[in-house]
Symmetry: C2
Subunit: 386 residues, 2 copies
């Protein structure tokens, strides 16, 4: 259908709801339930040293965090850690830049290496690279149209932020390329775990795995020891390591998740990934209904797949809803703005303003308010067509 | 005197002691005493969000950490925080780069801004800048010899790492310059607090203030809101904030220090800064004796000054010992290496290899072993001269 006006047919007098960021507050419900079991106590004398384990490439990583990361991937089956190196960072953000620098030449190249990712791509890759204005790496946009015969690094993000799709590399170039796999969302509350990821450089983050975004813990699983050393050096020079309080807490929480899954009598829907998947499934069902009725947007269609972890087939329940505006609406972000909904528009993701991204992992109140405002649209549509 | 050989006159069969880094383990004794009082409990549901206080320029900073930083500076009287902005980072390392980028032009300049610091200067400034190979800022070495008519940023570090001296800016250039004051060691266990520092951009770190280096908490006190915003944006793009577990713990520990100082019946030598100053004073007295007897090195001389915080005069007790080799020893780091002491040689600090830096804040065992090895030197000297 063609929507007749670029403005929403309703005016909203309520306060603005912010669905622009992927702040993982939805998981709070689960962690409230498990609060005592996952609490950590840190005493005054602990964690004075910069160092954690000088026998490890990543010398600032607590051994218990390394063990917890390996155990979690083993339990979930989403990534190969055997014979690989783990490097931690202050969020996967810091490791993203560490990976780009580690994969670039040690000597300043004639031209910076081109970093590309297929559009729509994560909106922060570009500003994270641009701010440094480095002679080593530069943002070069959409991997799908990259045709330069120059060295490049392709970032493959699956399930992809913003659209939740499962992807592989797409660059077709005669030049040498390296890959960085950003697997922030490859966890079984969001998407079926169909395979053990086994790539040269894989990035994960505690923020999206368990919802503890305030802890700023990211990790990379790296095949080549030289790349792992260079990434560690980048984190050393950027922040002299990673907060140990957060490391200790991440280890505790990952351990608690694994303990629960390894108890014989556990009930899947009460365990972390099952519990959170059910929340997301329910939200997605409600959102799909509301979007369909609104006649203003369409959603990406996801096919079902068998999840080796959950032993069942399900659709992807992405972290974000990626909406395409129907014809007649040119700017999705502005349209949302008129509904007093803060959302992130397509251009940041390398596509047109007729796309817009909304978080699916925010607070219940905000999500319910989103449904309410979308239902106001559909009521107007019905009234217009009757 | 002229030392006859470039090699130490003893061979050491013991294991290597590492005095190369400034790992602040000496403060562990104090924190063991205060362990329970300073312990923090963090529950499973806490710190899910990226955000802390969206009404603050530094949106990821916990309000309690901001308050604790302001209170600590108020109690110690070492820096003006009133009408200034506080920006936190993952260590002051991250804030150092954030400050350089914030003080540089938003558009890529024709030539990168030159970053200089008077030699001997902190050995990590250069590699921290170099790794990014940025078109915005570049390391340009010793501020004392800077004579280019190009925009620059001078880093003033006082008391200075490595030599503990109190300094001001030294660049004489017709070009426009900005200053960054690195005040990591301007705390009353190391040096008399003679004034409230009041500069445009001041950097501090929890690592050297209380000895909690593993927490990776640094803060900047910034005069100009636009600079504070740019620094916050740099931290946002580099790591999406700072670990909240560490923030909460830093707030608790700073608060405990202040509480103790504000109790009426407190005894200075049992309070944090007094207790730690006494440890450092004792170490320095022993080291001075050992160095004097060795006849191989000389130490910087420090004058006494009145400390407004402690209400007494004392010398500086720097974090590092900065040794100058007597004539005849060309390479202090190698010389120490033959004593199986890992130390950091002069060239990293922008001076000759006849200088070498040793930490004064490491473990007791290592410090005592240093004294033992130095005493072996003096025994040989005495035997040679008799």
């Amino acid at each position: 259908m063609v929507v007749s006006k670029a403005s929403p047919p309703v005016t909203c007098s309520d306060s603005t709801i912010n669905l622009e960021k992927g702040d993982p507050l939805v998981f709070g419900k689960y962690w409230k339930k498990k609060s005592d079991e996952c609490s950590v106590v840190i005493q005054g004398w602990e964690f004075l040293s910069y160092l954690s384990d000088t026998s490890n490439v990543c010398w600032y990583m607590l051994p218990e965090l390394k063990g917890a990361i390996q155990r979690l991937h083993h339990v979930v089956g989403n990534a190969v850690t055997q014979d690989k190196y783990i490097v931690i960072g202050t969020g996967s953000t810091q490791l993203f830049m560490a990976a780009l620098f580690a994969l670039s030449p040690s000597q300043t190249p004639d031209h910076p290496f081109n970093v590309v990712s297929a559009a729509p791509h994560y909106s922060e890759y570009k500003p994270e690279i641009d701010v440094l204005r480095s002679a080593v790496v530069q943002w070069a946009g959409d991997a799908g149209v990259y045709d330069k015969n120059e060295p490049y690094i392709e970032v493959v993000n699956y399930p992809n932020n913003p659209d939740g799709t499962i992807r592989g590399p797409v660059v077709k170039s005669a030049a040498k390329g390296n890959l960085v796999h950003d697997l922030a969302y490859y966890w079984p509350q969001y998407t079926p775990i169909t395979h053990q990821a086994d790539h040269d450089v894989m990035l994960f983050t505690f923020s999206k795995c368990t919802g503890h975004a305030g802890s700023r813990i990211g990790w990379a699983i790296v095949k080549d020891i030289e790349i792992a050393k260079k990434m560690t050096r980048f984190v050393h020079l950027g922040s002299h390591g990673v907060a140990k309080e957060s490391q200790a807490r991440a280890a505790k929480i990952m351990g608690a998740i694994c303990d629960d899954y390894q108890k014989f009598e556990s009930i899947e829907s009460e365990l972390f990934f099952g519990y959170c998947k059910n929340i997301l499934r329910e939200r997605w069902e409600k959102l799909k209904g509301a979007i369909e009725k609104s006649k203003v947007f369409t959603l990406t269609k996801y096919s079902r797949a068998y999840c080796n972890f959950a032993n069942e087939s399900f659709e992807t329940y992405p972290t974000f809803a990626w909406l395409k505006c129907e014809e007649g609406i040119e700017n999705g972000e502005s349209y949302m703005g008129k509904l007093k909904i803060r959302a992130r528009g397509g251009p940041g993701f390398g596509v047109g303003p007729n796309y817009v991204r909304l978080t699916m992992i925010g607070m219940d109140d905000d999500f319910n308010e989103l449904l309410k405002r979308l239902s106001m649209l559909s009521a107007i549509q019905i009234s217009n067509s009757s």
